[in-house]
């Protein structure tokens, strides 16, 4: 069973529907024991970091996620879920879970592309991911695939070896992070068509190790 962590942050049903489509059993839950007993967990979310952390703590879900991480069960963070696993977010000056070293910054308003044109914030729409190495989660995903992003903040991990993929939006930023059994992506695989569903399907059978 896959536990989709419910901390009242945005549309969790879309991840659930994608897993249903893939024929994977899952449950949307904010129950501590259901989370720590799950075979693997998905940590999605849209919204603001400050409120998210408050809601997680209320249900001891911050503790549950850390336990699952220590127990080496596979964890997938999506969008806000990716930012929350970092140490600190500029959004509401929030102390986060600290499972991955580094901070979350806001895209500068002055962001421009290579020909000097101003870029819009949020970064919203379809963009590519440049992988730094192969990984089981991206098995069968073609390199020119695009993924759906919606965000104004982005993770800046301290350790470059924890960056699995990068995306260009005025500058390169870390769009896929990996720390042992925790994978975290800034885009929405559940809204990214066939390549996104492939990543979710890969996650459902991932052992949590770098190489299968």
């Amino acid at each position: 069973m896959i536990a989709i962590i419910d901390y009242k942050a945005g549309n969790l049903t879309s991840v659930k529907r994608a897993l249903d489509f893939l024929g994977q059993d899952s449950v949307v839950t904010s129950d501590y024991s259901e989370v720590i007993d799950a075979e693997r967990i998905i940590f999605p979310g849209v919204g603001a970091a400050g409120k998210a952390i408050t809601n997680l703590k209320r249900h001891r879900l911050d503790q549950a996620i850390s336990e699952v991480f220590d127990n080496k069960r596979p964890i997938l963070g999506i969008c806000l879920g990716t930012q929350i696993v970092m140490e600190m977010s500029e959004e509401n000056d929030t102390r986060c879970l600290g499972l991955i070293k580094g901070e979350v910054h806001r895209f500068p308003e002055s962001l421009t592309n290579s020909d000097g044109k101003r870029l819009k914030v949020p970064h919203m729409g379809w963009n590519r991911v440049r992988l730094k190495r192969r990984h089981p989660l991206f098995e069968g995903v073609e390199t020119d695939s695009e993924f759906y992003f919606v965000h104004s903040y982005y993770p800046v991990p301290s350790l470059s070896e924890e960056i699995l993929g990068e995306t260009y939006y005025g500058a390169w930023f870390a769009s896929v992070l990996l720390s042992k059994n925790l994978a975290a992506m800034q885009f929405h695989p559940e809204k990214s068509g066939r390549p996104g569903l492939k990543i979710l399907a890969n996650f459902c059978k991932w052992s949590g190790k770098d190489v299968e």
Partner: protein, 259 residues
């Protein structure tokens, strides 16, 4: 970099497409769920449903339609038409839509934008604007006026002023429909798109007037729009999304080619 989005728009009434849509191969499809799946498979980057149902019974059918669409397609889609408040928004979003679009209701009560953004996040709130070209006046300095109720009521509001106000209230995106260009198949209103896009920071979807892939190129090149809404040019099989995207790709516009 971000790809420009190609967004088919489907008009729905009482859970059915308003016009049976005829594809190549003469398949008549009136079911919005089937149609959405078709466009999803064909490479649409997003889908817009515009609900023109008036009755509350019809609204319930629409929510059910949204739910069934959400089980089948895994790209963002939005629902507009008849969204009057937070409860309408919540219903549509819980049923699985990514975004809701507000138009007339927001002009009458702009707070619906800020309240919606506060509850669900700006990324969920699309402002639909219907705009008509008029003689510039002190009240309408740009010569583009907001009209509502499906093009019937002139509001005495300047389009640019309204776009900026909606942005500051928390709209996440603008769907900019030119009433003059709508249905002409003569191309988008380029001047209007340039005016709005260059004066707001949120993405703008050009709407109204698309007849050929060249029209899409005109409005997408030179950053007059971040996305385009299309309807009849693909609904009746004149073009496929793949043909349109290949054309744009070959002309140097970044579009999502692998889906």
């Amino acid at each position: 970099m971000l790809s420009k989005r190609i967004i088919p728009c489907l008009d729905v009434r009482d859970g059915r497409l308003t016009k049976g849509i005829k594809f190549r191969g003469n398949v008549d499809i009136g079911d919005p769920v089937q149609m959405a799946s078709y466009y999803y498979e064909e490479g649409a980057d997003e889908i817009v449903f515009y609900d023109i149902t008036a009755s509350s019974e019809g609204r319930d059918i629409m929510i059910d339609t949204v739910r069934r669409v959400a089980e089948k397609i895994f790209i963002p889609f939005s629902v507009g038409g008849g969204i009057r408040g937070i409860d309408d928004m919540r219903q549509v979003l819980l049923a699985g839509a990514e975004k809701v679009s507000v138009n007339s209701a927001a002009v009458r009560d702009p707070q619906i934008i800020s309240t919606g953004a506060e509850f669900f996040g700006s990324q969920c709130i699309v402002l639909g604007m219907d705009v008509k070209k008029v003689q510039p006046t002190d009240q309408i300095p740009t010569g583009y006026e907001i009209i509502i109720d499906g093009g019937r009521t002139y509001m005495g509001i300047d389009a640019l002023e309204w776009a900026k106000r909606a942005e500051s209230l928390g709209a996440g995106e603008i769907c900019l429909n030119s009433i003059d260009a709508d249905g002409t198949k003569d191309g988008y209103e380029l001047e209007l798109n340039r005016l709005i896009t260059s004066n707001v920071k949120i993405p703008v979807i050009a709407s109204g007037g698309a007849g050929t892939p060249e029209h899409l190129f005109e409005v997408l090149s030179d950053d007059r729009a971040d996305a385009v809404l299309i309807a009849s040019m693909t609904h009746y099989g004149t073009y496929s999304i793949k043909e349109i995207k290949t054309y744009l790709h070959n002309k140097g516009i970044k579009v999502r080619m692998n889906w």
